[in-house]
Subunit: 234 residues, 2 copies
DNA sequence: AGCCATTGTTACATTCTTTTACAAACTCGA
DNA sequence: TCGAGTTTGTAAAAGAATGTAACAATGGCT
């Protein structure tokens, strides 16, 4: 039995194109212009996944998300107009599972659709999705939203590189990571012998997360080897 | 026993070329056109590493990644078409260990293959996590943060060599350790007969941890043999 | 193009490690 | 116990790695 996807999108051009492409991937795809049409379809054929445009006439995507989240187990991917932080953050807070930004790359969308459907099917058999938040000291790193918050929820802005570096560290707590490995982890780049990028980045990150950057509690230097991120439980 | 790599790639030219090059690196390499062939090979000869093209007829690379990740411990490197963030993010979210972009530089690919195989092998041999803290006298050695704290929590910073040396001592309390052995424990270095590094290091460590460095309580000299670390309970 | 934020590079200061040199302590036989 | 030979202690210099400020390059956005 193929899986059922409903696209809720009021721009018919986009909707048709998307539906056609997804059908080629061997999904069963229904199209809805708005929330009412979606409900009709749902009534006779429950969906595994909803692709919801965030900007709709009438009931908007966020409202649909909240409602469906409460009463159904379908996965929800939001289609957002721009890479607009607000939409994506609010969308995920409302309970969407993922989002893509328009104009979207087909392969990206397919990959996310497939990934989410797989995750949904695994529920019950496989391990539940790991907590997307990593806690250490007074900080929490929210991987989904790619940002750092303190215990009060205040946001400490991180640049992309800083986030990637911290993310790499949190994935390998207690392991000494060489500069070479770190450069590879954060940007898939080859090592040049006199490259000091990582040192500078570590310095910048320390200024943001350490109480005293000269006596770091989290990112520890290992002379001649690299850096270690201290595990939170110690 | 050489390590077994399976290449899953439908373009036979690329696949052959890659397989040939890897065999020269003394790996055992199998070739598969698709997921089914891969399964056949796996059934009679488990792999250490899978090199998977992300765009395959039938079951694609990401799907293979997720399936294999769930049931095997093989490393997975994705071969992606373009260098775009999307593939990388998604590939790694799905559980791949690494990726390379086509057209790929052979040396880069080899480096990644070698790295990943090395990392996989380390997992089995890695030393079990020691107790996070070693107590002796008024001191606690915080292994995670590589520093020394007294009973009030005040930090006595240790340099890398000092930490490694103290760490080596605490792992062998009451045992006489020769200079040669100590040098080997704290770094990967050869012994030269007139090497005084350890003596200097012991001196510096004593200044930090001993009440009276000329009458050491912890790091005791054994003339003509080396040093002993006194057991905490004696 | 011009603006702004981010990222990478360079240069220099600082810190850490090893070597060197010599003083002090130890061992052992007479 | 003395003294020669050896081993250890340690300050200081030399060498290597890291921290970091300031500048340059890059990239996204309008």
């Amino acid at each position: 039995m193929t899986q059922h996807i409903i696209i809720i999108e009021d721009d018919s051009v986009t909707r048709r194109r998307l539906a056609g492409a997804l059908r080629k991937q061997i999904y069963r795809v229904s199209e809805a212009e708005d929330a009412d049409q979606m409900e009709e379809i749902l009534a006779r054929d429950p969906a595994d996944l909803l692709l919801v445009d965030i900007n709709l006439e009438g009931k908007d995507g966020l409202t649909i998300t909240r409602e469906q989240r409460a009463k159904s187990k379908a996965g929800i991917i939001l289609l957002t107009s721009r890479d607009d932080q607000i939409d994506r953050i609010i969308g995920l807070e409302m309970g969407a599972d993922d989002y893509v930004t328009k104009p979207f790359d087909k392969r990206e969308l397919f990959a996310r659709v497939k990934n989410l459907l797989a995750r949904i099917n695994e529920i019950g058999t496989a391990t539940p999705k790991p907590d997307p938040v990593w806690q250490f000291g007074r900080w929490q790193l929210n991987r989904m939203r790619r940002r750092l918050e303190d215990e009060n929820g205040a946001v400490e802005p991180l640049t992309r590189a800083e986030f990637e570096l911290l993310h790499a560290f949190t994935r390998h707590p207690g392991v000494i990571l060489s500069r070479e490995r770190l450069l590879d982890l954060i940007q898939h780049r080859q090592w040049a012998p006199d490259n000091r990028t990582i040192d500078v980045l570590v310095g910048r990150l320390r200024k943001k997360i350490e109480t005293d950057p000269t006596q770091p509690d989290w990112i520890i230097t290992v002379h001649g080897e690299g850096y270690v991120f201290a595990s939170p439980e110690s």
